[in-house]
């Protein structure tokens, strides 16, 4: 049992607690410590990635309880991939935030680190109820972050976001209760053993629980009927927060990928592939809705927020196919799209800061400062988001298109994905040409120059899509291995057999 598994949770937790007590310390010191914490977290995530890439499962039993009875953390390829994805994103958002966005609220760094901790718990946990707790941890931090920077415009979207998520938590608890009442366990590995044995009247109870769980994850992932809270909330959040939130919808998708192939997979008897036939059409409708929203967006941030919904649809469609190739393609696209969308949020904020009162509205305005730098970054982001060659998004979409077997599903997926990509391209071209090219003569009150941290973090995050292109081979090998690992749930079930650690010198004299 390696103790590295707890590191991505402990590091941001301790760093965050440190920040609580440093509310009145000089801001430069707080920033240095906070970023050092994020760097350490990235290091631990990379170590876990190296550990997980041998394809085995590692379990960490809290309090040394034998797995089905205690809470376990489980590390596999998927968890490691998500950890690294989040840590990289978190680091660049954090550097960006330390360029000035963190002022005005002493607890910004605390909330930011707790948010990262919540995400890491969600990715590592092997227990359904602990997943609920992880969701709540990351949500309560996100409520605070969403409000960060104040402004009356954020109150109403924030209120909607909190209320919706509280209703979602209620549903989560109901479904957990339903599943527990039948199976008597909430350990995911144990559930994978118990669910296939369910029969008779209990079957419907588990089925209802499973479907409700899908609704909850759909709310987190912003699948169509549950996605209307997202654009307003994301478009009005501060840029580094919105960029970090790019991974929040992916948590919902992660939960679907983690739970459904494992618990309701091929081997689940009558409950096999529960809900997947609903997911495919919903994913395509979500994708179309996102494209329509992007076409109608009147400022850059709203455009990018709708891009989040487009990527959710694009990700869920291949996952719903239920094939290894589909899941592998989706995971590849997930890495690329998360970083791209986050980078676009940061670029939009920079553009807004250089345009005076026009901010990030898609209207003609006097020429902005740093136009070349910002327009190149926007171009890279837009090309990657729309899925044009030669950037990361293109390879992701290509893999998704290749993953589907010929048939009706292929016709739908190809049609919607390609048409969606085309219209997304139109939305970005329209926005980009109006914002960057169509300048009117006029005086622009001198905006603040870009500081180095902001410019560098945005630049690097945008260029990560180039890194994905260079590393496309190893990355797609990794995602393929991840998909194989996920669809073969015997490995996960084996963590139940993990021997617990026996202390060298057991206490003499037992307490009676």
């Amino acid at each position: 049992m390696t103790h590295w598994l707890i590191a991505p949770i402990l590091i941001p937790l301790l760093g965050g607690i440190l920040q609580v007590f440093m509310g009145y310390a000089p801001i430069s010191l707080r920033r240095t410590l906070a970023i050092a914490t994020t760097v350490l977290m990235l290091v631990s995530a990379v170590v876990l990635l190296a550990l997980a890439s041998d394809g085995s499962y590692r379990a960490y039993a809290f309090g040394n309880w034998q797995p089905p009875f205690g809470i376990v953390l489980v590390l596999d390829r998927l968890a490691a991939l998500m950890l690294v994805l989040t840590a990289v994103l978190g680091l660049f958002c954090h550097i960006y935030a330390s360029g000035g966005a963190d002022e005005g609220n002493r607890q910004f760094h605390t909330l930011f680190l707790f948010q990262l901790m919540g995400l890491n718990i969600a990715f590592l946990t092997g227990d359904l109820f602990n997943l609920f707790v992880a969701f709540e941890v990351l949500l309560i931090a996100s409520y605070g972050l969403l409000m960060h920077g104040g402004g009356t415009t954020r109150t109403v979207p924030g209120l909607h976001y909190v209320t919706l998520n509280l209703a979602g938590s209620a549903l989560f608890l109901i479904s957990v209760g339903m599943i527990y009442s039948v199976t008597g366990t909430l350990n995911m590995a144990d559930l994978a053993v118990k669910i296939p044995q369910v029969s008779g009247n209990n079957l419907n109870l588990v089925k209802a629980g499973g479907m409700m769980l899908l609704v909850v994850f759909g709310l987190k992932a912003a699948i169509l009927p549950l996605c209307f809270w997202l654009p307003k909330a994301y478009a009005r959040a501060t840029a580094p927060v919105a960029a970090l939130f790019a991974v929040m919808t992916k948590v919902g998708i992660y939960a679907i990928v983690r739970i459904y192939p494992l618990i309701f997979g091929e081997g689940a008897g009558e409950l096999a592939n529960l809900g997947m036939d609903w997911l495919f059409p919903l994913a395509l409708v979500t994708l179309s809705m996102g494209v329509i929203g992007a076409l109608g967006a009147d400022n850059l941030k709203t455009l990018v927020a709708w891009q989040v919904i487009i990527s959710v649809g694009t990700l869920l469609a291949p996952i719903a196919l239920g094939s290894e190739a589909g899941l592998s393609a989706a995971l590849f696209y997930l890495v690329s799209t998360t970083w791209t969308v986050a980078a676009l949020f940061l670029v939009s904020e920079l553009v807004a800061s250089q345009r005076g009162t026009a901010a990030d509205s898609i209207v003609t305005a006097p020429q902005m400062r740093h136009r070349t730098f910002l327009s190149v970054l926007f171009l890279i982001g837009a090309v990657a988001a729309a899925g044009l060659p030669p950037l990361g998004g293109f390879f992701g979409k290509l893999l998704i298109l290749k993953a589907v077997e010929p048939g009706t599903q292929m016709a739908w997926l190809w049609g919607v994905l390609l048409a969606g990509g085309f219209f997304t391209l139109i939305a970005y071209s329209r926005a980009g040409s109006i914002v960057f090219w169509w300048n009117v003569d006029g005086h622009l009150e001198t905006p603040e120059p870009l500081n180095n941290r902001v410019a560098i973090s945005t630049g690097i995050l945008t260029c990560l899509t180039l890194l994905i292109v260079i590393l496309a081979g190893p990355l797609s090998d990794y995602t393929r291995a991840t998909a194989e690992q996920l669809y073969d749930n015997r490995g996960y079930i084996n963590i139940l057999q993990t021997p617990v650690h026996v202390p060298q010198n057991p206490l003499v004299g037992e307490v009676n």
């Binding site: 709540e136 009356t152 109150t155 209620a170 608890l173 209760g177 527990y180 909430l186």
Partner: protein, 122 residues
């Protein structure tokens, strides 16, 4: 007892959902609170209903399931914190927008006839 318990959960949830769909923040918070009561009772019931039994193995022949109790405790704590946050947020909404409508201030112009009706009723 099962019937009573189920009716209570049903009533709490139904009133919670009804209030949740109201347009003012105060009923929404009340609705969420009632909903969380209903959910907590439901979660508690997932360990089967039994009276006078200890959640400790070995003390009696039959025992009640301790896990749902722990789950409910966690859910109560989390729900409490979230509700507190929501109360503060809706007060902020009230202060910012001088209106406790969940969608914030509306450019609300009551129809003429309705204004007259209100005036006449006063």
């Amino acid at each position: 007892m099962e019937l009573l318990f189920a009716l209570v959960i049903g009533a709490l949830t139904a009133s919670g959902v009804y209030l949740l769909l109201r347009a003012r923040t105060f009923p929404v918070i009340m609705g969420l609170t009632l909903l969380s009561y209903g959910v907590n009772l439901f979660l508690f019931a997932s360990g089967r209903l039994a009276t006078g039994q200890q959640p400790v193995i070995g003390t009696t022949t039959s025992y009640s399931d301790p896990l749902p109790q722990a789950l409910v405790l966690t859910a109560i704590v989390i729900g409490f914190a979230m509700t507190a946050f929501l109360v503060v947020l809706s007060l902020r909404n009230l202060a910012d927008n001088e209106n406790d409508h969940v969608d914030g201030p509306r450019e609300e112009i009551l129809p003429e006839s309705k204004q007259e009706q209100e005036a006449s009723s006063k």
